[in-house]
Amino acid sequence: MARKRNLFCYLMLAPAMLLVLALGLYPMLASIRMSFIQYDLMLIPTQGTPFVGLANYQTLLNRPEFLQALINTLSFVVVVVGGVVLLGLLIAQVLIREFRGRGAVRTLVLISWFIPPMVAAGIWNWIFQPERSPINLILKFLGLITRDIRFLTDSSWVLGPLSIPFLAISLVRIWNGLPFTITFIMAGLQSIPNEIYEAAEMDGANGLQRFFYVTFPMIQPVLAILVTLLAIGGIGHFEVNYILTGGGPKGLTNILAVMAYNEAYNQYRFDLAAAMANIILIMTSIIGAFYVRNQVKERSL
């Protein structure tokens, strides 16, 4: 009986398992392998694909653009994740309460959730068009600027990884990523029993104290999961940067996934691209390891 049951389980699993192995694990391994061989489409006809050890990684480390893209990738994660989580916490605090018109407000705040990144980038690209930007118009009206900000091309002001194009792209990604964060935090907030708040209130805790001594400790596990997911997504992010600037100007918005893609499809250096994909794999696996363990434990109960 048990054996028959097991056979049934494996048969039910088989299609999904095969797919995940063929299109999930195998390509990751193949990508690791590709990073240790010479896989330059221009040279394959004459030289094939010889094993080159760590040469691809060395090539990358010797390129200032790579280090810039690496630092940018991590900086984007910090700015974008920090931005959506802080805003998300504030907004979720408000949306969780009962008030008139809450349904409508929720709908409006969360509306950008499923907007395709391509469309998001397309709209913001138009909003960022310097002479016709409504943002510039307002800033000029308020007397805050005299010359139009060139959101996506100005490389004159640089502070570490920060620059105007960097901040402009961060803004777009925050816009696109905020609804998910809010929803996630709201789900966490809803799991806090009301009695705890009532007890805290009885003890005379004010709003801020309630946040720091009740809300925050209670949703810390949810926040940890959220930050893990957002950081992993951020390290592998591609679309918005690729579509809005392609990594420019002067590499100020270049990130690993965009550089890997360009290296592969513009330079035909799939080996370098794979090496960068691999660096993304290593970083995200390290961050994700505890998450996977935690989730497996939780779900196999």
Partner: protein, 295 residues
């Protein structure tokens, strides 16, 4: 949005009312700014899509269409094959959603219900592949699809989409199956002569239709919104998906005079996302199981 007044001998009721008013006013101001931030791009897209090229190029920018026109939309669907791209995307995303949800549902069922050797390992593999960004397996899959001759075909792109849709759908569904139906129901069915498989098809599936629909919609949106995979696997002529078509549109017709038709195309691409969002919205906050959805 009322401040709950804790009993305190130090403050008068009047002080509390004042504080509550101030707090509500500040909250409203903050939420107002948030709503402007989230809605402004939609407004700018819509108003631009209804303007004439002349209004688009005007300086300073004009905030409302003075002579609302459908010219942008007409050009988007006549000069550019936007309707064709839309159909391509609909086809690919629908097939992906149906296939991924079906393949994932059987796996999700046994993971949710049975203990068997390797179950934990497989669950770990699912979570891991769903978690790690697509770019880490992008290049080998590109060559794989190329080698089997499926580059620039619908099946090639659908196969690539299944790679990330199946783990996603399986994880969401197994969470849903755990709560949608009490195991006793299936046990009773087994005693009545059902096999394990018919217990799944006759008991679990029918009661899980709302959840399965939601998962299928999420999967659909994942494929619909994708740009990365489609940009290399299906980028020739008439076969492009909408996202890739829009990107080319932006590249070759990004000149100012055509922004109105580009914005019209963006509106068209946004409609399915917004429609499905309103369907999903009700189940979202309550039904979102932590960790099974990524942003």
């Amino acid at each position: 949005m009322t401040a709950r007044s804790a009993p305190s001998k130090y403050h008068s009721t009047q002080y509390y009312r004042g504080m509550a008013f101030l707090k509500n006013a500040l909250t409203a101001l903050f939420m107002g700014m948030v709503i402007i931030f989230t809605l402004f791009p939609f407004y700018w897209m819509l108003k631009s899509s209804f303007q004439t090229p002349l209004e688009i190029i005007a300086l300073p920018p004009i905030w409302l269409p003075l002579q609302p026109t459908l010219e942008g939309y007409i050009r988007a669907v006549t000069l550019y094959p936007i309707p064709r791209y839309l159909l391509n995307s609909l086809l690919v995303s629908t097939i992906t959603a149906l296939l991924a949800t079906s393949i994932a549902s059987t796996a999700a069922y046994v993971i949710a219900r049975f203990k068997f050797p390797g179950a934990t390992f497989f669950l770990g593999v699912l979570i891991f592949t769903q978690l790690i960004p697509g770019i880490t397996r992008f290049f080998p899959i590109y060559f794989l699809i190329k080698d089997v001759g499926l580059i620039n075909t619908y099946p090639g792109l659908i196969i690539a989409y299944l790679g990330f849709s199946v783990p996603f759908a399986a994880l969401m569904l197994q969470g849903y199956f755990r709560s949608s139906c009490p195991p006793e129901l299936e046990e009773a069915a087994l005693i009545d002569g059902c096999t394990d498989f018919t217990a799944f098809t006759k008991i679990m599936l029918p009661v899980s239709i709302p959840g399965i629909t939601a998962v299928a919609i999420f999967t659909f949106l994942g494929a619909w919104n994708d740009f990365l995979w489609a940009s290399q696997l299906l980028n020739q002529g008439q076969l492009k998906t909408l996202q890739v078509g829009l990107r080319d549109f932006l590249g070759e017709a990004g000149s100012l005079q055509r922004i109105n038709s580009f914005m019209a195309a963006c509106v068209i691409a946004t409609i399915p996302s917004l429609l499905l969002y309103t369907i999903l919205q009700r189940s979202m906050v309550s039904g979102l199981s932590a960790g099974s959805i990524k942003g």
